[in-house]
Symmetry: C2
Subunit: 313 residues, 2 copies
């Protein structure tokens, strides 16, 4: 299936016009203040196997990298469109959700005769929470973050097209940071079972089609002047750099962020185009890993912002 | 694959002994106080498609029913073992996670010269949060809730066997409330790809084997004296009661809770065994749906506790 057929035959989300409109306003608002805008995609897409969905294929991603990266882009002065999987990790709240330590554990109730019931934050959690709340409130006030959520791969791709086409109006001031884990395969709407697939008839056979590659259109048509960053996640280290190089040749974009599944929290390989084209590694030091006081996304986003400002100037 | 082969060939979680031991202590503690114990399973299981997992098949479930039911069981005086998908909804915190309204939105920071920074809860959220916090603290103090988490269907089944075998020591005072959405299919460890399945070689073909049916062993061997409640989720209403009846005949347990995907928040069909065997409906009234002040799980758990106390006496 080619890209054009995909967008015609796979239904778009009902709020696609509203989302386009919000992104347009957001980009214009920040363009007027000469502020760069980044589209951060985050979390995994699903592929429903039934129309009334009981089962779906999912891509492994809690949104750790995307939600952390969005925070660091904001701290570098970028306005962020955060296109993320519904209920995946989000900037700021990411520290208090998806943990096995429940956020109710650091709140407590104190009764007093004069003031009624009051809620207290336990002292060891208070400073960190105050710090995050202050940053969160400031971001709300200055409109630095616009959230859009998706669940299925089809919805994701429709939103991606709409968001990047709006981002195009800011030219080289725009960055596409495609950290979402997008399914390579899907079940076309025309071939989807209506009801739950029954389990009595022996083994489960499934055939999915390839999702058309969108990166070429994104780079050439949707936002041709933006700085485009794609991601590769591999489990086999030998495949990473060759696949990144091939992607840069095929799609003509600016940067591939390469990750190996088991080491992605400590080391990242950045691959740029060209013959003398660079392979550079962003990594945490042993001391930083030990102390757990630096996130690798802080270093990664610093590198990318530097590359982007050279690209845009 | 039969059940015995499954437990031998599919590796068990590394902490299975620790979990068994904790559940044993928990059951003994409450048995000594003549308190009934319910095992609530909640959330969906995953089926990894690769050993270094990038992709997996998931079953649709946020854990809404299981987490709400656990709270109502506790309010009816039951101690709860909550066997749930990691990061799915949990009792008490369920009201503040997985919502598009971020919990940071109802906290704010106020600076004062004398007291430094303080965190405030916005007035419209305060009463509800205080109420939930009080219940949560009481449950912690009285050890009414033991949480065990799983991700894959294999881990789930190993934990299920271990938990129900421990529950057996409380005899008819035990309830198994199997609300988790468990995959019917899996990829055996021996057939799993090691690395990420590559996307360049045409359509994605997948064959999964049936997960052996565990309910028969659970009812006959693991906890034969417990009150066992299984769940059916269907999208086609015509299939629901016949499939529930067939399950009761095949497995010999006490109750099937039947749900239709699109109406499960308002209406539930309870199916019990026997010729004159009952089909009864638990539903919210139109006023309750409108007012959003009653959860259907409150009515469901009230019915089940009544059935269990008749069963146990």
């Amino acid at each position: 299936m080619d890209q054009q057929t995909f967008f015609t035959s796979e239904p778009s989300p009902s709020d696609i016009e509203t989302v386009s409109c919000k992104v347009r306003d957001f980009v214009q608002h920040h363009k007027a203040q000469s502020r760069p805008v980044v589209l951060v995609t985050s979390g995994g897409t699903t592929v429903p196997l039934e129309k009334h969905t009981v089962r779906f294929v999912d891509n492994f991603s809690a949104g750790t990298r995307g939600s952390a990266s969005a925070e660091y882009f904001i701290s570098k002065g970028y306005a962020v469109v955060f296109l993320h999987r519904a209920y995946s990790l989000e900037p700021y709240s990411r520290n208090y959700t998806h943990t096995t330590h429940c956020f109710l554990d650091f709140l407590s109730v104190e009764e007093s005769e004069t003031n009624g019931s009051r809620i207290f934050v336990s002292p060891q959690n208070k400073d960190e929470l105050i710090n995050i709340l202050k940053r969160y409130e400031k971001v709300q006030e200055s409109r630095m973050l616009l959230k859009v959520d998706f669940t299925t791969v089809t919805a994701y791709l429709h939103y991606l097209k709409a968001c990047t086409m709006e981002l195009n109006s800011i030219g080289s001031g725009g960055v596409c940071y495609l950290a979402a884990a997008v399914s390579d395969f899907f079940v076309p709407a025309s071939k989807m079972e209506v009801h739950k697939i029954q389990s009595r008839d022996g083994p489960f056979q499934l055939e999915m089609q390839q999702v058309p590659k969108m990166l070429y259109s994104l780079v050439k048509e949707w936002c041709p002047r933006a700085f485009v960053v794609s991601f590769k996640l591999e489990t086999d280290p030998a495949l990473l750099v060759p696949k990144a190089k091939r992607a840069l040749e095929n799609y003509g974009h600016q940067l591939v962020v390469g990750n190996i599944l088991n080491t992605r929290k400590y080391t990242i390989t950045l691959v740029t185009p060209g013959d003398q084209g660079g392979v550079c590694v962003v990594a945490l030091t042993e001391e930083e890993i030990e102390a757990k006081d630096v996130e690798i996304e802080e270093k990664l986003i610093a590198s990318i912002c530097k590359m982007h400002s050279e690209f845009a100037s």
